[in-house]
């Protein structure tokens, strides 16, 4: 099938071909509201007309700041249909972070979800000379703003409707203008979250998104009957492809939850067929299940434990359609009836045909748990510069340690230093106003450096070890892959975050953040009394538990020749949670190593001394921007001799 030139073309196609099919749902005032493709097309048209009335032109940039709400998705279409470029911005960034992106992109308009976002933009408007209008979706609290420059999306649509009534020719004109869009035109600009340095604006073309979306739909046989729930940040490329690009090209329905807090209930009501979540979500769901089961009555717990063991035995084979003895099949079927079915229903995953996880490594136990229940959870590997898809696991070829085979039309190559390179139709146009960065990331013949170190295994599947630049060496020249070690630690439910140190040092040491939900439940069951996060984190029994986890990780590491030298010798449990508001994590919850190195210099030095405790005082920023101080004496613990597996074997 030949693809159409632009995403707005797909909107027009869907409005004809799937006119009466539900394209979008949104839970509002407790009720799911629906819009068909034809209705959405009408809404987008009046919206686009209104934007033109306000003076938005071809090539202008428009910031979109907010959560997953229908009008914000329509904003994408409306803006793209007049050849302007939407720039979604992470809604939880504070005004100072936001202003960099808005200024760098040179936005003309800003579309905000609510007063909170409008206020952020207003507070920095003097740094944004190009900004002429602010639009908003939710009218709450917006009564006393200047209506000349700050107006509701409704008002803009009414402006558009009146313009259409005055001059019916405009509707035709709108379609003609869409026809002038071509596949090579910039379609959207997505800012990378900036793990290192300033965020960069990744420019993607219509072709990038359309071809990648169609390929992804083909790969997983996704069609017009799918249902998804949109709950990931709009500014993240994944949401733009899963909830926008793939939905437009396949014609499937996207559901917007009532609020970020109601997602699990909303997901249960919708029961999506295609589902994406970062490992974090699967982890926290599993933690919630485990906690709930620990509080359940004894017979229930026994039944659960029994059938989860059965699932571990046969689940993967059942999912892959492998031959199994009749008895095993029956046993699994009873489990489905009693445990897996109700559990999947509870998770809102009863109808999931394809579920993906990406962004970070997922714990093998967690990954296998979901698969054993009969949920087709797979891994993929991608990045913004590739319009997501680089590799993905095909059905039936699943391994917890790999990220799959190259996606359709994608070529992969491993550089001499181990870095992964790819070339595909999804490769971005370049970084906005940063030719230097573009040139250093993409070669002249179209290969893109991922920045990740990895290798292709004997089955042709890609394995990622770590960020290429993070892979370091200890003083004895053994390999030190920090993220690889941290991920192994984070696979334990009681460890939320970990930071490993070791490059240019004598041994590996680590910071650990406990997971409050899991550890507090554990503390309750073990009669451990504590008054605060800080006190719980510093509790000797918590240290004992973490120490046992680290010993287990060390045994794992020692068993792998490539990383055997990187066993953890000393660790401490941090007195506060690492937080994006304090700049310790990125907005996508990745550790900012350089920042942590500077901020916790004293603690790191203590890890490499023979001290048992270290005093630390940290400034923290509350959600309202106020500052406070947390002080603590953090205990440092050394581990016993690392088991030498090679000697034993």
């Amino acid at each position: 099938m030949r693809s159409l030139p632009s995403l707005p073309h797909y909107l027009l196609r869907n409005a004809e071909q799937y006119a009466n099919r539900v394209a979008m749902r949104h839970k509002d005032l407790g009720i799911w509201r629906e819009w068909t493709w034809a209705e959405i097309c009408g809404e987008v048209q009046s919206y686009a007309m209104g934007l033109k009335e306000l003076g938005l032109c071809h090539g202008d940039k428009v910031a979109i700041i907010g959560g997953n709400r229908p009008r914000l998705y329509w904003s994408f279409s409306a803006i793209q249909s007049i050849g302007a470029i939407p720039v979604p911005v992470y809604a939880d960034s504070v005004a100072e972070e936001m202003v960099y992106v808005l200024e760098h992109a040179g936005v003309r308009f800003a579309v905000c979800q609510d007063q909170e976002q409008v206020d952020k933009v207003v507070s920095v408007h003097d740094q944004l000379p190009g900004l002429s209008n602010i639009l908003y979706d939710e009218s709450r609290g917006m009564r006393d703003y200047d209506v000349q420059v700050i107006l509701s999306i409704d008002a803009v649509q009414n402006l558009g409707r009146r313009a259409l009534e005055r001059d019916s020719h405009r509707a035709v004109q709108w379609r003609t203008e869409i026809d002038t869009l071509s596949g090579n035109d910039m379609c959207v600009m997505l800012y990378t979250s900036g793990t290192t340095g300033r965020p960069k604006g990744v420019m993607l073309s219509h072709d990038n998104l359309i071809i990648t979306s169609i390929n992804a739909n083909t790969f997983d046989k996704l069609d017009v009957d799918e249902q998804t729930i949109a709950y990931l940040p709009l500014a993240w490329v994944g949401d733009h492809v899963f909830s926008y690009g793939q939905s437009l090209t396949a014609g499937y329905c996207v559901c917007c939850p009532e609020s970020p807090e109601t997602i699990s209930a909303d997901r249960r009501e919708i029961a999506p067929t295609y589902f994406f979540a970062p490992p974090r979500v699967f982890e926290s769901l599993l933690t919630a299940i485990t906690v709930a089961m620990e509080d359940a009555s004894r017979p229930k717990r026994a039944m659960f434990d029994h059938f989860i063991r059965v699932a571990k035995g046969y689940g993967e084979d059942v999912l892959n359609g492998a031959p199994l003895p009749l008895f095993s099949r029956l046993h699994y079927a009873i489990g489905e009836l009693l445990v897996y079915g109700p559990l999947k229903n509870r998770l809102g995953m009863s109808r999931v045909r394809v579920a993906y996880t990406a962004g970070e490594a997922i714990g093998p136990d967690i990954f296998r748990f979901y698969r054993s229940l009969g949920i087709n959870l797979k891994q993929l590997y991608g990045q913004t510069e590739a319009s997501v898809y680089i590799t993905a696991q095909p059905d039936g070829q699943i391994d917890a340690d790999t990220v799959g085979i190259p996606s359709l039309d994608v070529e992969i190559r491993i550089a001499d230093n181990g870095e992964v390179l790819y070339r595909s139709p999804g490769v971005f146009l370049g970084y906005y106003r940063d030719d230097e960065a573009t040139a250093s990331t993409r070669t002249a013949d179209g290969w893109v450096y991922t920045g990740d170190a990895g290798f292709i295994d004997e089955k042709g599947h890609l394995r990622i070890i770590d960020r290429a630049k993070d892979v370091g060496r200890l003083n004895d020249d053994s390999l030190f892959p920090p993220k690889y070690i941290e991920n192994k630690l984070k696979f334990f439910p009681s460890i939320k975050e970990a930071v490993a140190f070791g490059d240019g040092r004598d041994y590996v040491a680590a910071f650990v953040n406990i997971d409050l939900a899991a550890v507090s439940n554990w503390a309750e069951r073990n009669d451990i009394v504590y008054a605060s996060y800080q006190e719980l984190a510093g509790h000797p029994l918590v240290y004992d538990m973490i120490e046992r986890h680290i010993e287990e990780v060390n045994r794992d590491l020692a068993a792998e020749p490539r990383v055997a030298g990187a066993c953890i010798r000393r660790f401490l449990v941090l007195h506060k949670e690492l937080d994006a508001d304090d700049g310790e994590l990125t907005r996508t919850q990745k550790v900012r190593r350089k920042f942590i190195n500077e901020r916790y210099q004293a603690l790191i030095e203590a890890l490499y001394s023979d001290r048992d405790t270290q005093f630390v005082s940290t400034t923290v920023i509350f959600e309202d921007g106020r500052k406070g101080k947390i002080e603590a004496d953090v205990t440092i613990r050394s581990l016993g001799e690392v088991p030498d597996m090679q000697m034993a074997s």
Partner: protein, 274 residues
């Protein structure tokens, strides 16, 4: 863009224009329990559309004052005028029917019922269908419930408690229970809302949320609010006018700034030899 104005600017302009009328006035009210004089000869008024704070040290008679206003206590002396009507004795449900709603210092919700049902219960005075109609749930009873449910859902949306809609309130954290209680009071669509320490026991973030709800409630729905609060920062930010009580007497009445500068108030809070 430069003209983006905050609600407070406009509000103060409106108040300055003298457009506001008296909603409630308390004239020479005294209340005693046996030999204890809880309230002694107090007079003040509440204007339509304002946020009026009642402050004072512990035992000053603040909660007694609220109880007098909503008809729970009957003062031995004095007159209360609400919406131009004088009254001496009034039962709490009559006060509720006439447009006064309140929340309590200690959360007083139906603990076993869900958030939704608790707020729905605030609509009961507005329901017209009888018990039997509601049991069979057809015709007018049904359409009435749908209408009320919609209003309740708007309140849930306003207070951002959709995620706890179906949870029993007894299991909710304290800050959320306070919010549900505010929701139930809002469901009555009162003209005067009495809040008894709406932020007691809350952390900073919860207080900020609650302040925002009170501000929006006041300026978006036009509800007049009388609140008792101990957090002076909150009072100074929220209130248009403040009345200060001490040992059952009124010692000051005026704008937050005026009250803050009043020597009697400073003495009452810091303590002087009586």
């Amino acid at each position: 863009m430069n003209h983006a104005r905050r609600w407070s600017d406009q509000l103060s302009e409106e108040l300055g224009s003298g457009a506001s009328a008296e909603l409630l006035s308390v004239d020479n009210v005294s209340l005693s329990f046996g030999g204890v004089k809880a309230i002694a000869d107090i007079s003040f008024d509440i204007l339509k559309g304002e946020v009026r704070a009642i402050i004072g040290p512990n035992g000053a008679g603040k909660t007694s004052m609220l109880n007098v206003i909503n008809g729970f206590y009957h003062p031995q002396e004095g007159i209360i005028t609400f919406r131009g009507k004088q009254r001496r004795r009034m039962k709490p449900y009559q006060a509720a029917a006439s447009g006064i709603a309140r929340t309590f210092q200690n959360v007083a919700l139906f603990k076993g019922m869900s958030t939704l049902d608790n707020i729905m219960s605030g609509r009961s005075l507005k329901m017209h269908c009888g018990f039997l109609w509601q049991v069979v749930h057809i015709g007018p009873a049904r359409s009435e419930e749908i209408r009320h449910r919609r209003r309740v859902e708007e309140i849930i949306d306003f207070l951002e408690i959709a995620h706890i809609r179906k949870q029993p309130v007894g299991k909710l954290p304290y800050g959320l229970q306070k919010r549900v209680e505010l929701g139930r009071a809002m469901a009555m669509e009162p003209e005067l809302l009495l809040l008894d320490e709406p932020m007691a026991g809350m952390n900073l973030e919860e207080k900020e949320d609650m302040s925002r709800f009170i501000i929006d409630l006041n300026s978006e729905f036009g509800t007049t609010i009388a609140l008792i609060e101990h957090d002076m920062g909150v009072v100074m930010d929220l209130a248009d006018r403040v009345v200060v009580l001490d040992y059952g007497r009124k010692i000051a009445d005026g704008t937050p700034a005026e009250v803050q500068a009043n020597q009697d108030v400073i003495d009452a809070y810091l303590g002087v030899a009586h």
